[in-house]
Point group: C2
Chain length 423, copies 2
Amino acid sequence: MNAEIIAVGTELLLGDILNTNAQYLARQLAALGFTVHFQCVVGDNPQRLAQVAHTARERSEVVLYSGGLGPTADDLTKETVAAEYGDPLRFDEAEYKKIERFFRDCHRPMSENNRKQAMVPANGRTLANENGTAPGAMFVQNGRYAFLMPGPPKELIPMFEKEVRPLLQTMQQCVLHSRMLRVYGIGESQLEGMVAELLEGENPTAALYAKTAEVVVRITARAADEQAAQAMCGKLADRFYAILGDHIYAEGEQGMEYTVVRTFIDAGMTLATAESCTGGLVSERITSVPGSSEMFECGVCSYSNNIKQLLLEVDSGTLRQKGAVSPEVALQMADGVRRRAGATVGVGITGIAGPGGGTEEKPVGLVYIAAAMGDTVWVHRMLMAHRTRDVVRLAASQKALDMARRLALGLPMHGCTAHRLRG
Amino acid sequence: MNAEIIAVGTELLLGDILNTNAQYLARQLAALGFTVHFQCVVGDNPQRLAQVAHTARERSEVVLYSGGLGPTADDLTKETVAAEYGDPLRFDEAEYKKIERFFRDCHRPMSENNRKQAMVPANGRTLANENGTAPGAMFVQNGRYAFLMPGPPKELIPMFEKEVRPLLQTMQQCVLHSRMLRVYGIGESQLEGMVAELLEGENPTAALYAKTAEVVVRITARAADEQAAQAMCGKLADRFYAILGDHIYAEGEQGMEYTVVRTFIDAGMTLATAESCTGGLVSERITSVPGSSEMFECGVCSYSNNIKQLLLEVDSGTLRQKGAVSPEVALQMADGVRRRAGATVGVGITGIAGPGGGTEEKPVGLVYIAAAMGDTVWVHRMLMAHRTRDVVRLAASQKALDMARRLALGLPMHGCTAHRLRG
């Protein structure tokens, strides 16, 4: 079936907001097997909206609308689209009571205009809105469907997931299941070469999304029921795991810091960090995770040599002979902060994030990352030429987190050299 | 004049990418005084593209296209739109040489298809592309204009700025000038009340954009020449400064951390931070600014009481009697880290970012922020109910940075209590 996406709102035409709803709905429709030929944006103007709605109904079997469902006089999407699909609308007492209750609960006055929101499809159906006052609507005429959803993404997304998707799945006679595998330690093009064969399927599909310092694999299967779709995803995911192994650090939306926090708590281990060029980014990422206080002892962001000696007990001779950006200083930072904090694992990062401060011998983008546990410190040398300060810092923090994860799980420390501490 | 925006690309219909070009172009058109009634997205399909191009030419005086100018067979925007505006296209030898040179310079093979890119408007004109091989095009017929630009933003934005905007300004007989004032310390609705009168003008315009923990005022003026537009902006900006004073902390794109770094360097001052609930966010923001090593001494992220005592010399009795989240501990953290680091200013933050850890007496969202300089420590109490962990942390870091800024500039410390240190 083919589908079309229409966003209603002057703020989109003015460029005040980005049309993220269109991308969200486009992805969802693609995953459901709908073909989208057109997307439109139109303002809160009844004539122009009617024109767009008419064209869309003529050329597309399913039309998804976002926006224009509010209580103000210029929100006319429902009335206009209802007319296009020949629906007379009717006043719904129950819907009205719901809106009344919503206003009472937030102690806000209800206006006469809010009454308009209780007009519901006579031939179609109402779509529940759990996160706002404006209910959605579905209109249908001669096998042509319109789905109207509110503009704010925090209302639209739940409404799509709970109300619209099941109806669209029924039309396509299918359900969808997705998994996201998060991969660290293999660059996108190398990864693409390793899994090329797995990216060619039509159902399930697998696609790579490159992010800074990681790649996400999205697997999506379409099947007659949830169980079958899950099984199809599972089979393909197993093939990714067979190739990528422990480079897949987690599944889902949450980044490496979540994996590290959970892994440390599960293992009863604690972490301390000493950062120079990343300036607290590792500790910031760790502590952004709720519950991290269970496993995080402290972070020291030491920009000056003085502080490296004072708080981290880095040796002044090493600083003088090897310089602050050296494997030896990274090692002593990791070991020093761990001992200071009494933590199981210590991480140390020193490098040149740029844009200034580079030399021929130690260029911008050179970072040493160390992780200490037991009587061993592992050190990794990273060189990121021609990258911005932000990318260098993020990539270094990601490597540090992955090293902590690998230590906690007893995994191999790829690309690191091991240094035994003098007892 | 009215205008329309059309994006061409299957990747937009699939939701693989976000249509940021539409927002960029919409903002630019609004600023230039064009009225935009419609935006569309259509795939690389000649029939459907022709249909959309025809509708757009009929209803809009100016149509801006993005995408579909590449060398592949499915990139047909130029040919299709040329036909709509009755332009036969012609082969351009100079354009062809330019494309040849581009491929030679990047040591990439040139395909027969790249020849297609040297077909240029016969009645309109070519738009130079400084960042890619695909030149843009302008077509014109009976006072109706189409501007074709490439899809990648890093090609489209410079082409719009250098080639398209001047032509549009000529049509509107104007130039534009904008200023962005960054405001901290006044909530959006209060701010709106204070400057309501200044937001009503049509030229120059002023609009408020609420962000987390700050509001941006954008002033835009349209005039016959740059000097006149600048003067109009300046006059309106002066009125904002008269009302908002030192709540305007900077102008432009860069956040509070840039102001703090520059202010401290200018004043020859240094900073040290001690963070609990913000977990290194302040030090991370400061060190994200190039050159911050000149003014930043160190940051300590102390999650445990033990570390607060060990590294920051917070008194164990105070921790026991007042608890870690208390004005007294914030004060001692700010003072302790400053003394440890030998810095001019010390900042201390302690609070409950949530979602766990709150009590009736000390709820989630309660944060104490302290800043120490000379013999005084200033302490601010912040209570952000019903906010997410990320928002609480960002708002607390913003307040801490503003307190540092105010100390460095000798400005009033709004909402803070002063504590004199025992000599």
